[in-house]
Amino acid sequence: MKQTFCVIFKKESSIIAVDSISCGPHCLMNVDLQTDATLQVDISDALSERDKVKFTVHTKSTLPNFKQNEFSVVRQHEEFIWLHDSFVENEEYAGYIIPPAPPRPDFDASREKLQKLGEGEGSMTKEEFTKMKQELEAEYLAIFKKTVAMHEVFLCRVAAHPVLRKDLNFHVFLEYNQDLSVRGKNKKERLEDFFKNVVKSADGVLVAGVKDVDDFFEHEKTFLLEYHNRVKEASAKSDRKIRSHKNAADDINRIASTLYTLGTQDSTDLCKFFLKVSELFEKTRKIEARVAADEDLKLADLLKYYLRESQAAKDLLYRRGRALVDYENANKALDKARAKNKDVLQAETTQQVCCQKFEKISESAKQELIDFKTRRVAAFRKNLVELAELELKHAKGNLQLLQSCLGVLKGDT
């Protein structure tokens, strides 16, 4: 399904408007998420204002719980986070991999660059200024499209999950057309979160130390730990690589401009030469920039996403591990109570509860982890194939430009 965006952002005094761009279907991280007709969710529109982004969440559903079959609401990033956190905090969902929250929209770097460009307007020629402005706007648009995609993927994952899609908060999120009055966490709450995380990671280490009787889970534990770290490393390295690529493309841009000036000024036969080469570099530079952008989309984003998903899977294992420890502790408490013959009933009920909890988590966790692997393999396959195809397409385009230019230049001599 096609989406159209209109990006308008204000920059101090002037408004830089980018016309609406239509994007293809998202969900690049996950395949087969849009096939269920009972509940389809997507982000049909988005607006970027100075410090926030407004997403238009569009739902199509045949489910009876909704008042209408098709409706839209406007949501901001904090509301997505609220929804995600409500899943995490819900004990009922302890046995599922909670779809990772979308990252916060971050236009700071891009906005800064645009500002610097505006300030430096006087020091460059009109052509240079227009060129740079176009590029920065394209960059802003790319970041914008990405953040929309991330938010959409989150919603799609929730909608595709057999249990989470029935969540009441999710329905409120989709349907309630007023502001959810969810504010971002204040300093105190963030500090609390920080400490909670410290405790949780310490606990996680303890829990992970407990050897699991179940081979499947033991294997998953070791696998996920290593995998998560490796994905983190690969993600960081791929980001650096892509940044270097962009830098090189920028240099070629400057070279093309200078060659153009040389071409217009030169009094010898070289003028035609320079102009032709300048033209060539303009085109190849665009291709190089596209290569970097495609690598970013197909490789870097993939790795980033699976970094977050593998963390969510690790969290699931932690919760199960926690439940196991609680269960074992409850068992020990029960034995002690029976030995002392004191509070046996209470100990028995506690033990029962822990046992149920543990078994419930284990059962769904197994399936979740198997699904995770299936999703992962499918996503990597799709993206690696597309990456290779795009690299080939660009390299062939580049080659063709270079060879035709060489042909002209050699013919001239």
Partner: protein, 493 residues
Amino acid sequence: ETSKYRSLAGFSSVLFVVLSLVKVFLSQSPEAACLSAEDISPSSNGPRDDDPDDLFAEATEEVSLDSPERQPILSDGPSPAITPVTPVMISPRVDVFDRSPDQDEDEEENRDTFDIQISVSDPEKVGDGMNAYMVYKVTTKTSLSIFSRDEVCVKRRFSDFLGLYSKLASKYMHMGYIVPPAPEKSIVGMTKVKVGKEDLSSVEFVEKRRSALERYLLRTVKHPALLKDPDVLQFLESSELPRAVSTQALSGAGILRMVNKAADAVNKMTIKMNESDAWFEEKQQQFENLDVQLRKLHASVESLVCHRKELSVNTASFAKSAAMLGNSEDHTALSRALSQLAEVEEKIDQLHQDQSYADFYLISELLGDYVRLITAVKGVFDQRMKAWAKWQDAQVMLQRKREAEAKLQYANKPDKLQQATDEIREWEGKVQQGERDFEQISKNIRREVGRFEKDRVKDFRVVIIKYLESLVHTQQQLIKYWEAFLPEAKAIA
């Protein structure tokens, strides 16, 4: 072994940034030296710490009169600890110069018998520690009659080249000849070599210098007048070369800086030259513009070289991480595909590295050479202004002498009158000489600029085509690698 190479690549990219910053800095301050015109004579000596803009004013090599390397280098006999530097073949020797004989027909004599090949090779380190220096083998192969043999091999060190340039500049620049400048001194680069670090960056530095020296000699002998110069012949042929006396303070750019500074002093004496010839004004403006653009281009290309090296390093590091990821992936087919991806990226990293060498040795060095050459061209125009000023001064003097004589005639002092008449004759001669010199230098410059522009067109054409061919090669390789990978990715089930 390759990991050592890798980790040093990072360092070398930093060094390249430093070197290029240094080079940009040095080539951007032609007016920075503040020596007066009298110091152009080769007998001047000593460090110039009165130049506030000269980064390395205190760092010029001081050679004491009895240090070992002052002895001329003998072609046989025992030499102090020569450590041959086995050059790691970093890149294919990039042949910047089109060695085919010049096909153009023009008024230059002997052009179609231009048959000389010069190569600078086999850098060897002589000595140890801070007194060490590099010695290069200069091989000349020629059929020209002015040379005594068909093939000559001599050993020269860097200061010998500087010495040659300094002699040629002092002989020919004031006549309007564009004398190609020698390569820049580099304290940073040389110190590393001296200290004995046989790492990648010092090997690259030596290769860069060797290549620059070769280009310098080729440009010098391409000039028909310089080719016949006895100093050039001596440099190329004689096994013993008298030690260049004052080169420790003078690099090619240093001399140009002084010459241009002197010329600027002339300009500042408010001599508004009556340019009767629009050609000169036009050409000067063109060279001015060319200078600005070439410097800009050079800076961008140096930045590209740097970023491409960075890209190569980062690609290699990503390849490693992708391999690790493939190892930990427990789905067999995906694991295999990720390892293949790692291999592809590793090959691509090598491609980027090779490309950055091409960027550098083809384009960046050519631009650097031309930035320096244009400084020489500007210097030559300034010499013409100086000649004009001298001529005008002579005319003014003659006028004064004539007025003095007229006064003396009224005063009736016969002995002083005779002196005055003699002086008039003397100054008439000087005026005529001044006019002749001015016309000669103007004529020379016209010819020189014509030749220069022809060479420039040829150089740039050849280099740019070579560079585009290197880009073509890179893309062809990329296609090969990705085409091999695609089926692997599709095979993930």
